[in-house]
Subunit: 260 residues, 2 copies
């Protein structure tokens, strides 16, 4: 996977020089290395001024186990760079954005190369890293002011913790994958019931893919469910967002486009 | 199911008179009736002084959709009675306990009669409702001061919402069913990262049953995982609790045993 991503970058974005930290290839039970090894790898790259960006290798689950330790060790060099990923990496994105880091970005990761059409996703991320190309962005970003994007369940499980960022006035984009409709409903109940989340400017729903069959049928679509909870919470529902666990997943720079 | 529970009650606990609200037999997609029908049923029975208890029929998912509406309509008559259930019903238990209702209880429900050995679970609940029999209680309750019990994921998805009760000084018992180890880990990260939860007197882990296989093996047991997060959070881990999604599920009266 790393070789394929490196080859794609060399061919199409030679300005980008990729370095896969050896930790990416470790294994410790569910995780790519122990918590100590994983936190040390993030901190090492983040604090090294010779790197311009930290590109999270993949999602899965594990960021929550290292977030507190890793975030506490970051220096000014770490503050100056771009952090790109999504899914479970949203835990670290949340913590970084909450600490005022300016370059926090939701978008494709190297592991997306394994998806159908995944080279386009990886190329989109590389294009954004290389030039910040506007065409890589989620279409509503340009007209939205402040924005943020998360996997729904990942965001739900940050609510009420020190990692929950202040998203007052932001358009909040949420996407989901492989969750039953009743769980999507429950997570939206959770997220929209939080008083701080009720200060967002609105919610956009990304794609909810690979939803297992509900028995009996849930009776409502994901759009009906998000509209239900937004109405209850007094949060404007702003329509769909072009993000998801798929190759079409567009780039969402937290905070939105900075004025020139 | 209702007939079997009614017959069991008539035979073994004739002092208990059961009334199944017609709403229990409705169906609307995933739910036993629309949100309006379900909230109205809870409110009707809760506010009717001729009933001594509200015994939630079953878990599943749905309490969160009616909690705000139902809780807002409860009167003093509702405050005087016992509320018994677990799993998803924990959403309502949380809200009732947070409002200072004295009779909030975690324990078996009528639907447990469908479990292997389920008659014992239902009889335990009926015995508690009939006489408050001490032998129905989770064994640590007698020596624990204030206590509360929840399904882990249900509790996780209350964190940071107005339904989250103040459990400072309580022993918090958490059980789980049918969740991957990585999700148990993630939910415990979430719960123990909440500043208010860090005020509990300690956590006891109920049974975590029907855990799907993790690929690769997660590498840690549920006890190792709860010990990990308790240590990080400065929360005493107090050992196991005799609760779970099974016929052995014991009774936990929120707040603990009241002094005589």
């Amino acid at each position: 996977m790393a070789d394929r991503v490196t080859a794609l970058a060399a061919e199409r974005f030679p300005v980008v020089e990729l370095h896969f930290h050896p930790q990416c290839f470790l294994s410790a039970g569910h995780f790519a290395g122990t918590d100590t090894e994983r936190a040390a790898a993030v901190v090492e790259i983040a604090n090294d001024a010779s790197f311009d960006a930290v590109w999270f290798g993949r999602g899965g689950y594990g960021s929550g186990r290292i977030a507190e330790a890793a975030l506490g060790q970051l220096t000014d060099a770490a503050r100056a760079k771009t952090y790109l990923g999504y899914s479970d990496a949203g835990v670290l994105l949340a913590g970084l954005y909450g600490r005022g880091f300016p370059g926090v970005v939701h978008g494709p990761m190297p592991a997306d190369i394994n998806r159908s059409g995944g080279e386009a996703a990886v190329a989109r991320a590389l294009s954004y890293l290389a030039t910040g190309a506007v065409e890589t962005l989620e279409p509503s970003v340009a007209s939205s002011g402040k924005v943020a994007a998360f996997n729904l369940m990942t965001f739900s499980q940050l609510i009420g913790t020190p990692l929950q960022p202040d998203l007052a006035g932001h358009v909040l984009m949420l996407e989901e994958v492989s969750e039953y409709m009743y769980r999507i409903d429950r997570s939206l109940f959770h997220v929209t019931s939080n008083p701080a989340v009720r200060q967002v400017a609105g919610i956009r729903l990304g794609r909810c893919s690979a939803i297992p069959d509900n028995d009996p049928d849930f009776g409502q679509t994901e759009v009906e469910v998000v509209q239900h909870w937004c109405a209850k919470a007094g949060i404007p529902y702003l329509g769909r967002a072009d993000i998801g666990h798929d190759a079409a997943n567009k780039i969402v720079p937290f905070g939105g486009l900075r004025s020139a």
